[in-house]
């Protein structure tokens, strides 16, 4: 995916922007356009936002303002391992916030960010419906149950080790 981000936006996104430009307040569709790009590419790259700026004639400072204001926009590609911590009520009560803190310190990144080596990214999710297993962490498609803050370093090491094999 990330290689694609340096390329031009795909024709579907361009067609979508063109359709927005036909509407009454074209600039008010900026958020919709950014959503579309995130769906397609997984995040908003600077190159893509630059293209939106030129295509829709909206200054990059404004696009940058919008994309950093809303938490749901990702500004970096997901890591090879996408870590998601459930912050639903059950998980939270059982200490998911402490688990999140442990991931943040271990990886040195915040929610929505990716480690510089591109290996890990961190995000939160809402209730996954497996509250009996709380607190729940998923790494890519794998579910880890009853995770404690203490287990976090070990967990990361094992994922890393598996990746090297």
């Amino acid at each position: 995916m990330s290689a694609e981000s340096n390329q031009h936006l795909d024709s579907e996104t361009i067609a979508f922007m063109d359709a927005c430009l036909q509407k009454e307040h074209p600039k008010s569709y900026l958020i919709a356009v950014l959503h579309k790009i995130q769906q397609r590419y997984g995040y908003l790259s600077q190159a893509h936002m630059d293209q939106v700026a030129q295509h829709m004639q909206i200054p990059t400072s404004i696009i940058s303002g919008v994309s950093t204001f809303y938490h749901f926009f990702r500004l970096q590609p997901r890591g090879k391992f996408s870590i998601s911590i459930c912050l639903g009520t059950a998980c939270f009560v059982k200490g998911a916030d402490k688990v999140l803190d442990a991931f943040r310190t271990e990886l040195g990144i915040e929610l929505g960010e990716t480690t510089p080596d591109g290996l890990f990214s961190l995000e939160s999710s809402r209730c996954l419906g497996v509250c009996a297993l709380a607190p729940v962490v998923t790494i890519n498609d794998k579910i880890y149950s009853k995770v404690t803050a203490k287990q976090v370093p070990e967990l990361l090491n094992s994922v890393k080790a598996a990746a090297i094999d």
Binding site: T60, S64, G65
Partner: protein, 584 residues
């Protein structure tokens, strides 16, 4: 418009219905404290310092954002309001560095003044506050987000006056920061280096990239021959730094101050301005003859030139190729003057005192460096930096005797003085073009049609049996308006003067912060400074650029004739489209 009756602090008045409480109070001589408000920008309502009590309202209301209503009863002062305002200021200060004594804005900081006026006498909070590195990538404008109080005046001036929209508020909550897109460096952004964000910032979150250290070092270096040149608009504004009223001309004192600081010779950018006019009028006449690349766009404003390169690269062929007066004079200092005085150009250190931050950028452009790489202008100081140097040196500026510029590059005509104000370059060019086209001296030298301090002016002027359509734009949103008209072919223009700053160089991004009874970018200050320049022009014996005897001699000795190969080599320049491309 409907008149509304209300009372403010028990005084009755009537005002038109589009007035805000804050504006109505000003009519009664009540200045409600404010921070984010600026009379010529859109209303932000961000700081809430301007809160007042309105009968019937449960909460305090922000007076800058609240229109008057019939029968309204407003109270601007009560112990509760005063306490609330103090609390708001304290909240800002809690998240602000404690370094007034070592801060560039010490003594003219709106936050500092407000804190004192609101009665804040303690700084209790010792907790965590936001941390940011100072962003120094730009040669012109640096950004210190740690001091930013998020009033967004800079965001508004950059978008609403300059049409650049380089700045915006990024992230949210405690992480909020005002910066260019992607938080990139100012040098990598569409910033045109005009410095208007510095002017409107109430604190020291935007500043010029300071060059005083380099100048002190050069002055102390015996191997350097350090010379100065001062821009036309400096003489009309510098006095404000020493408590004089805006528009008090201080030309002679400025020359003396420069000598006292150790400059070996003091020249006048005005000489460069006269020369610019001779070359530019020649360019205009040639293009008129061939009906080629019209309108001619003036090129002396470095902020406008950078704007053209980012936003209107398609207009580059229309721009005059003349270097700015500063750069013309600097080139002559390192060629003509060096040869005449038997010096090596490398030993001459040229300091330009400018109203402008964009000139710092211009000075470092490769186009304004010699073939072997040294810059023609070694350092650019803003009016503010220069005022500071004078104070720092212990010079009592207002008591100084009047000095004289060094000859011959210090002699100028009245036309040159006009360069400092909007419409001035146009008027100077028209004087010379008219005399050259008719072959006769003008009887009336003043072109009142282009004189007002106003964003956009148009006039049609009869010269030698033809009508010249001219336009004058300052503040780059106005430049956009006029350039769009040109591009759409709505009207045929022959000459357009463009200046980046609102009012021209007299309101440049490097000029003094306003005195107490004015607000920043108050057009009234610009008017007073412009008036001073018009008075200087009127008082001069020679008021047409090409009749400057030293310019005539310069062509005979050195440059052959206007537009000659030699003149092109030394006095003209080129432009390049720039990334990132701006959004019109």
């Amino acid at each position: 418009m409907k008149e509304i009756n209300l009372t403010i602090d028990d005084q009755a008045l009537s005002v038109s219905q589009d007035t805000t409480i804050l504006q109505a109070a000003e009519k009664l001589g009540i200045k409600i404290p404010r921070l984010c408000y600026h009379p010529d920008l859109s209303i932000e309502g961000a700081c809430r310092i301007c809160i007042v009590e309105v009968d019937g309202s449960r909460n305090f209301v922000p007076s800058c954002a609240t229109p008057v209503r019939e029968g309204m009863r407003v109270r601007t002062n009560s112990p509760e309001i005063r306490q609330a305002r103090r609390d708001l200021i304290e909240l800002i200060l809690d998240n602000h560095p404690r370094e007034c004594q070592i801060c560039e804005r010490d003594g003219n900081c709106e936050l500092q003044n407000l804190a004192y006026a609101m009665g804040v006498r303690d700084r209790l909070f010792e907790g965590k506050r936001k941390r940011h590195e100072i962003e120094k990538s730009s040669l012109a404008v640096i950004r210190d987000a740690e001091k930013c109080i998020l009033c967004r005046r800079c965001v508004r001036v950059c978008a609403e006056v300059q049409g650049v929209t380089n700045l915006s508020q990024l992230y949210r909550g405690v992480e909020t920061v005002v910066a260019p897109a992607y938080e990139q460096g100012m040098a990598d952004s569409v910033c045109i280096a005009c410095g208007q964000c510095i002017n409107v910032c109430p604190v020291a979150a935007f500043l010029e990239n300071n060059s005083t250290d380099r100048v002190w070092a050069a002055l102390a270096d015996p191997s350097k021959h350090v010379v100065a040149q001062i821009a036309p608009s400096i003489r009309a504004a510098i006095g404000e730094g020493f408590g004089l009223a805006p528009g008090t001309p201080m030309t002679g004192q400025t020359v003396t101050a420069l000598h006292r600081l150790g400059f070996e010779a003091v020249f006048d950018t005005n000489f460069g301005a006269d020369l610019t006019i001779v070359e530019e009028a020649n360019e205009l006449i040639k293009r008129l003859e061939k009906n080629d690349r019209l309108p001619l766009l003036t090129s002396c404003s470095s902020g406008w030139i950078k704007f053209m390169e980012h936003f209107y690269p398609e207009m580059i062929p229309f721009a005059s190729t003349c270097r700015s007066p500063m750069s013309m004079l600097s080139v002559l200092l390192k060629t003509y003057y060096a040869e005449k005085t038997g010096r090596n150009a490398k030993d001459i250190f040229v300091v330009a005192i400018m109203p402008c931050t964009a000139k710092k950028f211009e000075a470092e452009r490769s186009e304004h460096c010699s073939a072997d790489g040294y810059p023609y202008t070694d350092a650019v100081l803003t009016t503010r930096e220069f005022i500071w140097m004078i104070k720092s040196y212990g010079i009592n500026f207002t008591m100084l005797p009047e000095g004289e510029f060094d000859a011959p590059l210090g002699f100028s005509t009245g036309a040159a003085d006009l360069f400092g104000t909007t419409g001035g370059v146009m008027e100077a060019a028209l004087r010379t073009a008219a005399e050259k086209l008719t072959g006769k001296p003008l009887t009336e030298l003043n072109f009142d049609q282009v004189r007002e301090v106003k964003g956009l002016k148009e006039a049609s002027i009869e010269i030698a049996g033809r009508t010249l359509n001219v336009a004058v734009a300052n503040g780059l949103n106005n430049a956009k308006t006029i350039l769009e008209r040109v591009k759409k072919g709505e009207k045929t223009y022959h000459l357009i003067e463009l200046m980046a700053c609102p009012g021209g160089c007299i309101a440049g991004g490097g000029q003094p912060y306003p005195p107490d009874n004015h607000y920043v970018l108050d057009p009234e200050i610009a008017r007073l400074r412009a008036k001073a320049l018009y008075r200087i022009d009127e008082a001069k014996a020679i008021r047409v650029a090409h009749r400057n005897p030293f310019i005539e001699k310069l062509y005979q000795d050195y440059l052959e004739q206007p537009g000659s190969h030699r003149a092109h080599e030394l006095l003209h320049t080129t432009y390049t489209p720039r990334e990132p491309r701006g959004i019109k």
